[in-house]
Symmetry: C2
Subunit: 464 residues, 2 copies
């Protein structure tokens, strides 16, 4: 018995020794990885964007591939010339009468609805030790990469030159100072010199064009890449698709409603504040104004983006049961994400809208959809909304609370992580296409060789 | 010091205790899971197809979702009426003069090139404890399922009635005894009564149709499902695609070559044995016979499937450097997989071929591709092959050895696991489409709403 016990003790001791050894080796490997990453940091701007100092978190657990776990996708962040990133911020400032002083890489990215490009770039610049929950791991050697990220601030570039010139500035001078088109072209010239871009014609590259007009000049040259976009409003089906690309949310501009679900403090039935006059699908807005303006308990107001209007909109969205989301110039608009974080049930009137992360979010549980034809029938939309029970509204709100993290770019487990997860899901098909193109026999050149996933359309129906 | 040591001992002891507790709990959970699975086994045929007894492997590690690991996809195996599975085997036997005795569920599935349906079905019937490396876990409650597997033996059903009737049998009688078409229709009647089929119009269902003619009568009724197929030879682009479906390999009929790489024992340059006369794309075979028959060091022989011919083909493939793989009636043919397991470099002449698992296999590293136009130019193909260096052939062979497990259905980490992995990669897009269809506004009904991934075709090129 005593011998048996001693044997057990010995076995346990050996087990513990092995475990300790494993722990030590594991820690050593992790810290080596961290060191390697930090030392080969290609940007001299690293410190300005890092959330904290690099080496103080040594307990980092580099995701490893033991057992069932899946290796995160390896992404390479291109070290693009500064003009495509911080240079755009600088020019945006100059065009508004700002001055350049201090390090360009310490400039603050200006807040606007298409600032995903900033959040994704900053995320990849963070030390890997802070990115443990991410679906992508940044690699410093392009040879190891599954995908390549091109961090051009394409949406900010589009609005560097303000629609109305800053007071006292010479319009001609400003125009010469920055050109979005020239910057787009310069990016392509730079990209087309990159060995890894040429290798697969950009198919394994990720490019952000969140503003529907971003990259408009060169979009045909990047259409093989995985595009991060808001909708297909300006894109043809050969340029973008649900299969190849990722629909990403706008950055919400209204503060999150932090209260609980409930309708006691939401006396307004339906709220809308925004531009009444828009192009294309957005023409419906004027029609909706006409039929909704005089409805009881409905607030519908024309207003453009300004700090003051944003405050008014915040109040409206936080005190209404439903928030109207008509199409803008393109099918998507940032209001949807404002509505969700406000727990104001979105009423979507946009027949061609595409919605972010739809594999994990069932939008029929958080929003009400109307087709445009029905929505503009006098009385139709409002009478439908009035019939929705309190219970149902609470269900919508509960579900919105559940999914709103997906629309919060600053949430550590929010939009950024989800975008990378979506990107990583594209990899198998991208790899398949790359391998296939190496061996495929090119036949008729009259029509493209496409693989599709289709919806069977069986007729018109309004959802409620 | 002594106190410190004692503290360390105590800590180690605690650690061991926690570990032991974890191990015990883990084992208990695993065995409970196994028990639960076995008790609710819906087939009374369980024992006949299980590889070993259920409860003797207690160390089973149910895949769990700790840390980075990804939960395997949950699949529900439909408990279809026996006529769609073992009933097909029985009828296949009867049509060949066999007799029914003993339990129908003990019948052996007849070996043929389209027997993936058997391997997948048997795999799902195995206890989960034996399926730990699989990308899918079988669930007994359809409510939990991500996807649904319909285990109809569609390829065997197609060949139940032999082309040549068995000696002495009454042809009319046999025809009445089994009808593939009737069985296909009966399956659809059964499926369309299933709640989960109706829920998403079959989009989250997995159906196998490995023989290009399998399910021909009802294919339009199952086109929303994930199809497991050999190629797109009999399928329109609205019925199947690389995006929605999974290309699976034929079951090889030639024995694996177990020797090492090398060309010393491979004196023949190019080998082919098979049917000279085929329809459609396969018409190229006759042309290839004409130009290759008299070439030095080339063996090209007409022969149909028989045990004797298979033996001759095995010898040929094991002693040749290259094996010709022309299109058959459809672009794919089982010979490709025979070639790979024979380490005989495939020479593919089939312009529209699709290849299994192309995201993980770069076929340009294991095969030589010729477009049909070049391949039939006198002297062209053979002169290209003669120029391939010994080193290059060894590279092809090395790579084939590397990937051949993907083509071995009986390998425990082979084709079956890879098919499930491929199926599991389809899930995000399937879920997206299901959610999207719940809310989408159905617009024009004149053309389908499709998302595509396209290849840019830039001209003809032969690969070498």
């Amino acid at each position: 018995m005593a011998r048996k016990y001693s044997l057990l003790k010995q076995t346990l001791a050996s087990l513990c020794f092995i475990l300790a050894l494993y722990a030590i080796i594991n820690t050593l490997i992790s810290s080596t990885a961290t060191l390697k990453l930090d030392r080969s940091f290609p940007f001299d701007i690293a410190n300005s964007v890092m959330v904290s100092d690099e080496l103080d978190s040594q307990e980092t657990d580099f995701p490893n591939s033991s057992g069932k776990s899946v290796l995160p996708l390896k992404i390479y962040l291109y070290d693009v010339p500064t003009r495509f990133t911080f240079g755009v911020i600088e020019n945006h400032g100059i065009a508004r009468g700002g001055k350049t002083n201090g390090k360009i890489t310490e400039l603050k990215y200006p807040g606007h609805q298409h600032m995903a490009e900033w959040f994704l770039f900053s995320d990849l610049l963070r030390p890997e030790s802070e990115r443990v929950e991410s679906a992508v791991v940044r690699v410093m050697d392009p040879e190891e990469a599954d995908l390549f990220y091109v961090p051009f601030f394409s949406s900010l570039s589009l609005i560097v030159n303000p629609i109305r010139p800053a007071a006292g500035s010479n319009q001609q001078q400003r125009k010469l100072a920055y050109s979005d088109e020239e910057t787009q072209k310069a990016l392509m010239e730079w990209l087309e010199k990159q060995e890894y871009w040429k290798r697969n014609n950009g198919r394994d590259h990720v490019i952000i064009a969140q503003d529907p007009n971003a990259l408009y000049k060169v979009i045909d040259m990047v259409k093989s890449s995985i595009l991060l976009i808001s909708d297909f409003g300006r894109l043809r089906s050969d340029q973008a698709s649900l299969v190849k690309d990722v629909i990403i949310p706008y950055s919400h501009r209204i503060n999150t409603y932090n209260g609980d679900i409930g309708i006691e403090n939401r006396k307004t039935l339906l709220f809308f504040m925004g531009n009444r006059y828009r192009k294309e699908g957005g023409k419906i807005r004027d029609m909706l104004f006409n039929i909704l303006e005089k409805e009881r308990n409905v607030i519908i107001k024309h207003g453009t983006q300004s700090r003051e209007n944003r405050r008014a909109a915040t109040h409206g969205m936080h005190t209404s049961k439903f928030c109207l989301n008509p199409a803008g110039d393109t099918p998507s608009a940032c209001r949807l994400f404002d509505s969700v974080v406000s727990l104001c049930v979105p009423v979507i009137v946009s027949d061609r809208i595409e919605l972010p992360f739809e594999d994990v979010i069932d939008y029929s549980k958080i929003a009400v959809f109307f087709d445009s034809v029905s929505a503009v029938k006098p009385g139709f939309l409002v009478s439908k909304l009035r019939k929705i029970s309190k219970q149902r509204i609470l269900d919508y709100q509960r579900e919105m609370k559940e999914v709103k993290r997906y629309f919060e770019y600053t949430n550590s487990n929010g939009t950024v992580n989800e975008i990378w997860r979506q990107v990583s899901q594209k990899l198998p098909l991208i790899k398949l296409m790359i391998n296939r193109e190496k061996r495929v026999i090119h036949r008729e050149v009259d029509k493209p060789d496409c693989s599709c996933l289709c919806s069977n359309q069986t007729g018109i129906r309004a959802r409620l």
